[in-house]
Structures are given as structure tokens and as C-alpha cells.
Symmetry: C2
Subunit: 307 residues, 2 copies
Amino acid sequence: MNFADQLIHRIQATQNPVCVGLDPRLKNLPEALRASIDPSCAESIAAGFETFCKEILDVVANRVPVVKPQSAFFEALGFPGSRALANVVNYAKTKKVLVLLDAKRGDIGSTAEAYAQAYIGDAGSHGIQADALTVNPYMGVDTLEPFVKACQANNKGMFVLVKTSNPGSGHFQDKRLTTDKTGSATLHELVAAEVETLSGNTLGSHAYGSVGAVVGATYPEELGELRKKMPRTIFLIPGFGAQGGGAQDVMPGFDSRGLGAIVNSSRGIIFAYENPQFQANGDWQASVELACQKMTDELSLNRIQRQ
Amino acid sequence: MNFADQLIHRIQATQNPVCVGLDPRLKNLPEALRASIDPSCAESIAAGFETFCKEILDVVANRVPVVKPQSAFFEALGFPGSRALANVVNYAKTKKVLVLLDAKRGDIGSTAEAYAQAYIGDAGSHGIQADALTVNPYMGVDTLEPFVKACQANNKGMFVLVKTSNPGSGHFQDKRLTTDKTGSATLHELVAAEVETLSGNTLGSHAYGSVGAVVGATYPEELGELRKKMPRTIFLIPGFGAQGGGAQDVMPGFDSRGLGAIVNSSRGIIFAYENPQFQANGDWQASVELACQKMTDELSLNRIQRQ
């Protein structure tokens, strides 16, 4: 089944569009787990990250449609980290939750093909078998095409950076372009137009395509503008929670059916036991469950549809 | 020693600015090596890639200043590939050649810090200990800063994508921006100006900084323009050889001392045994040596200085 359809089915089954970001950091792990790790040993940290992410998945996998491991934190551990990441992805897939790998890859020609094989490859691929991958567009539309082909061939998805959640995202992305036609657009609007075209070539049965866009919760105005300009494109909305975005900020990213976006929270859920609001007698998984429940309530499909 | 100075010392010691790209591909490996590999087994391919790259290094490490492993081809093998990459990088370092990892990473805040630790980290890092890393600027200047800090703290280098070598690089990079000031610049010129500023904060004793720029050999006009606008920035020039760039095309990238750029060739050197021009009685390493010699002759420091 087309990735967009898989994602929408999961959103409908769980009745929310929440994406839980798996961003393990040694200093934030639950105390008992951290105490068992030798911080001088990459294998030991990687084993701790793997355990932590699997235990998060035990709580959230049947509550949310999709999880988003952040590759950087695993890569920082060298190949033991890469192995742990593969194990986490495989574990998630046994739980039926979709896996969007956040790796922001991008390159030209056959190198882009290698990245696609690495993360959203065919069944014979030796890489990590994620369901979707984040991709960086700076090098040009021709460098996105190998990823689009992989999505089409393997029923996978991709999310192209359009308007990112960081404070300085406007530095390049909001620059206004002169064009040969009347008027002008910003860089992120130009990228958005290209992504919308690519998405149209990967449509599923719900009128959304498998080529999505990353648009930050921290820019609600742009989110609403882009929703209008990209009717076939599913948004990955980061920046909820720890980065400052709230439920009202992400509402412009949805269509009238309550579809069209997934909203990511990482620290706010996975490290919920650090938040006095979600204390649960020292049971860190119960804290994660409380935080996940709060976010799925705030962003329930019912509530979004009523907005 | 500052990375820019390390690189210039190596260029002066080898009397050329050639960078050999390590882009292993199963179908192109020497026949005897390929025959020993089980293509259904990632560990077997990874071991073959490692052997191949080490044997390339045996030929080129004392002839060129720097090598550039392409992370994508290793990542496509999953964690056995990541381990092979780490082994190749460590082997290169025993040979004293500098290692520029081509991974085109980019992300925000603490995630960018994790990528920096993964590839250009401090001595206690668990990641791959490269000397420099390619970085993608799309997300904004604030997302480059964690990499710059790592360069400053650890005597490492980074090369930011500015004008890439692919046919479609102009799609976004050449778009002209409206500015508040008089006149306008293209996106890649704006990125270039930011990179030049960052490079100025990382200057070594040769008036070049450790923050470099990627500018393709396939765009010689832009290369010359950017050389004038970025006097402190070292260029990584890909696109030589297989992608179509020749010695004359890259000359605008150098200063009058013959410094300021490194020129990468991957396929043209490492798969030289496929080229009738470099046959050597079936000795594939001798073919690699011939191709490397030809490129170092074409781009000898003497010859560049005479241009």
C-alpha cells in the first residue's frame, strides 16, 4: 500500500496524528538505566539507547501512528549506534507503528540512490528498513528524484525540508526570489511548489501523496499558507512542545477532515519523567504514557476536525 | 594545528591539491575482489569495500593531501557498512592523509551537535574521527554554528554546500534574491557570503579558514566569481573527471599561490582499471596509480601557479 495511505490508515486507527521522536541522550535517560551504562564505552551507551527506545515503543507504539528516530544521536556512537538504530527500527516494525527516520539526507545521482537504498530501499536492501525518510532539497529537484523513485517502487515515504522549526530557518528559507513571472515567492515557497508537484506523482487513495514536507510548528502563519498551497502534501510538523509550538499553532496544518499532517514531539514525551507535571511514582514509562496521552488528547482527530 | 593549515601543509608536501573520493560500488570492484564477495550478505560486501578502500589508500595516501569517503555507499550496507567506514577512516589516519567525510549532514541545535560529535568530534567522541565533514546549509546559519564550534574546538574542518556539481544545482541555488539593499544576489552567493564570514572566524596562518565551500568543477564561471568573493574560504571542487570537469575548468578556483582549493575525483581514479587508458597488465592498483599520477600532474602546484 502507498505510504500516504498507510500513514492515513494509522492516523485513523489511532485517532490522532502524533509522531513520537526517538532522540536518546545519555544525560536524560531514566536514572536506573543510566546507572547501568559505561559512558566511556560506545557499545554500552548504544545498548542503553536501544533499551530505552524499545521501552518507549512498548508504551507508545499502539497509541500513535508513527515514530521518528533521530539518526544523529545513534551515529554519534559510531557503528554500535548504527546497529542499535537498526534494532530499534526493526522492533518498531514488529509493533506495526510506522517509522519515519529523521536523517535529512541529500546528495546527487547515484549517491542519492545509495541513501535511498540505505533507508527506504527495496526488500533486498542491506540498509535500515524505515517507512519514510527526511530529505534536504538544497542541491536541487534532480537530487530529490532518486528518493521519489524509491518511494514509488517500495511504497515508502519522504519528507522534504521546506520551512524548518529553528529560530534561524528564515535566513535562507524566507528570502524572497525574483522570478521571470509576475510576482515573487520565498525560497521555501519555491521548494514547497516542487514538493507539491512530486507529491502529486505519488498519490494514494486519500488524495495525499507519499512525498511530504517538513514545516515547523514554530511558524503557524507559514503553516497555514503552505497548507493552502500544498493540498496533496502531508506535513511533518516538528517544534511542538520543547521548541515552543502548541496545539493551536499546528491546527493550520490540517485539512477539514483532520488529515494532512503529523505533529512530532520528542523531548516532551520521551523525557516526560523530568517534568513535574507527569510524575508517576518514579515509574518513568508511566510518565511517558501520561505525556503521550495529553498530546493525543490535545490533537485527537475529533478535536482537530472541530477547529 | 588549525585544519586549514593542516590541509595546506599536506598540499605543499604532496605538491598537488587532489582529493581522491572513496566511493565503493560492488559492481565496479576489481574482479578478483568482487568474486570473493557474497552479494546477499552485507558483512561480506562491507568487508570487500573495506579491503578495496584500504588498497586504494595504499596507492594514493602519500601522493595526495586528502581522501574523501562517501558515507552513502557505506550506509547502504547498514551497520556493517558503518563499521567498514570507521575502519577505512582509521586506516587512512595511520597513513597521515587527511580524511574529509562526505556525508552532507545538517540539522538544528543539539542534533547538529550530535552530528559534529559523530564525525568531527573531540578526542573523547565515540564517532568516526574524520578531519573534516561536508555540511548542508538549507536550514540556516544557526544550524552551521555547532559544526563551526566543533571545528574550532577540535582543529577540524567543514565544507558547506554552496554551488553543487549536479546538472540541476541551479534550480534553487541560482535563484536570484530580492534584498533590502540595492542589487540582488543568488541563493548560492548569499550562502557563500555567510560561509566566508564563518571562515574568517577560523583562520589559520595561511589566511584561509577551516570552514570551506563546495563548488562544482562543472560551473567554472561561478567558481571564478566565488573565488573573488571568498578570499579566505577553501573550496572542495567535485565534478572533475567522470562528471565532466577538466583541469582548465577548476583553475579559477585557485589563488595566485596555487592554493585555495582541493579537487576531487572518485570514479576516474578508484575505478581506473575500467578505463582502457590506464591498463596495467591486469594490476588494478597500478591502474589507480597511473590515473592518480595523471591527475596530480595535471594539477601540480607548479602548473596551477603558472596559470
